[in-house]
Subunit: 241 residues, 2 copies
């Protein structure tokens, strides 16, 4: 199993205070783009890999999904997710994405938000997703963008014009990156954008859309602590079938 940082007290406390944890999807700035990549959920059987507090699972049911299975490795997050719903069509289950085993052809949509950059065995996971999807099924996910995860020393610098610049390096050096986000020594897996695309294709998927989300100038004006976030993408979003 990879690092389960969400079950350490300091990280969980910090994560629980993030706007997207308190207010849900509406506070996730990339959500409108990710939502636009989803199929019509009416009557669909949905899985959410790395479901966290279950915001998407509940939204999917409101959007008409027939059933939703939320999977997460964090007991803390699953406990809270279970407290927030009495809907019998939403099931939460503990699962490690490194060793996930899905039943064959039981989902119409597999969704995941910002979970796969913690996973080492992405090829195995994509093959499981392929296995779990029914014919015509869709796969929609987001991860931290490779340009964001690559640098050895992430942190904004300024170019000679005084404009924020992201110090991109180590892009082709795939593997673990240790960052101090909410807690010390959070391990994320950096991989290239080509790796995400080619693993999808090699797992039998056809890429339908790819988006690179970055903040707009208006976003940055409204959130001074986002300064620079309009200069390079933060999230990579992909839809495949």
């Amino acid at each position: 199993m990879t690092q389960n940082i969400y079950d350490t007290a300091a990280f969980f406390a910090g994560y629980s205070r993030l706007p997207r944890s308190v207010e849900g999807l509406a506070a996730a700035p990339e959500w409108p783009t990710l939502q636009s990549m989803l199929p019509d959920l009416q009557g669909q059987r949905v899985a959410d890999l790395g479901c966290g507090f279950g915001w998407f699972c509940r939204w999917a049911r409101e959007a008409g999904a027939a059933s939703v299975q939320g999977l997460d490795v964090s007991e803390n997050m699953l406990a809270r997710a279970r407290e927030t719903t009495a809907d019998p069509a939403i099931r939460y289950e503990r699962a490690d994405l490194e060793t996930l085993a899905l039943a064959e052809g039981v989902f119409d949509l597999v969704y995941s938000s910002l979970a796969f950059h913690y996973v080492e065995n992405l090829r195995g996971l994509f093959e499981q997703v392929r296995r779990g999807l029914a014919p015509g099924g869709r796969f929609v996910f987001s991860v931290e963008h490779p340009m964001y995860t690559a640098p050895g020393r992430p942190g904004w610098t300024r170019d000679p014009d005084g404009r924020f610049a992201w110090p991109l390096n180590r892009y082709h050096e795939e593997g673990a990156r240790s960052t101090d986000w909410l807690a010390k020594g959070v391990i994320k897996q950096h991989r290239t954008l080509a790796r995400y695309v080619n693993l999808l294709i090699e797992s039998g998927f056809t890429l339908a859309r790819l988006e690179e989300w970055s903040a707009s100038a208006d976003d940055v004006a409204a959130h001074p602590d986002w300064a620079g976030a309009d200069e390079r993408p933060s999230f990579l979003l992909m839809a495949a079938h």
Copy 2:
């Protein structure tokens, strides 16, 4: 028509001295990767958009192509390309990629190396390529990588560890970038990686493989003037059908 920098004397003289101009494909470091993305050319009808001196056109014939059409906007380059072959199965023709019109279904492979980042109307060009391909046809091309073309002030900096870092910014600001490469004020079109992928898909293609070429540490050791080129991708390579 976009800027035809190859027909200005200073640029053409500089370009003519580049290793890839003098020695051909073997001196293009990304060629082995691009070559590995090509189909078997035996008996194929091939087009090369932005054929330059015709190195690829001649190689394609040696690799078994039935016919090769090389298209370029530069009279200088076409003149030299025509001097290098007497093969009647290779035809060179002047064409502006901004307004290219291909006959329907006449090619098995459309190829292009490092030309599309000069083109403004990429959607129109991709639609023409789609039109020009016979059923089952392939489309393989390379461009300068969006991470390479994005910055307002390109040029290596150092991170706090002393490692080369590329000052990435202006990534989502698509459009013209003026650089001083071989001549002053060379205009290239920056677009995001998502734009290349989605334009391909929207034009009816299925993405088969995507590669992000960067120099290896060994390359950099062998070419001291490439210092830093192993830290971020220089070229984006795509294969579609």
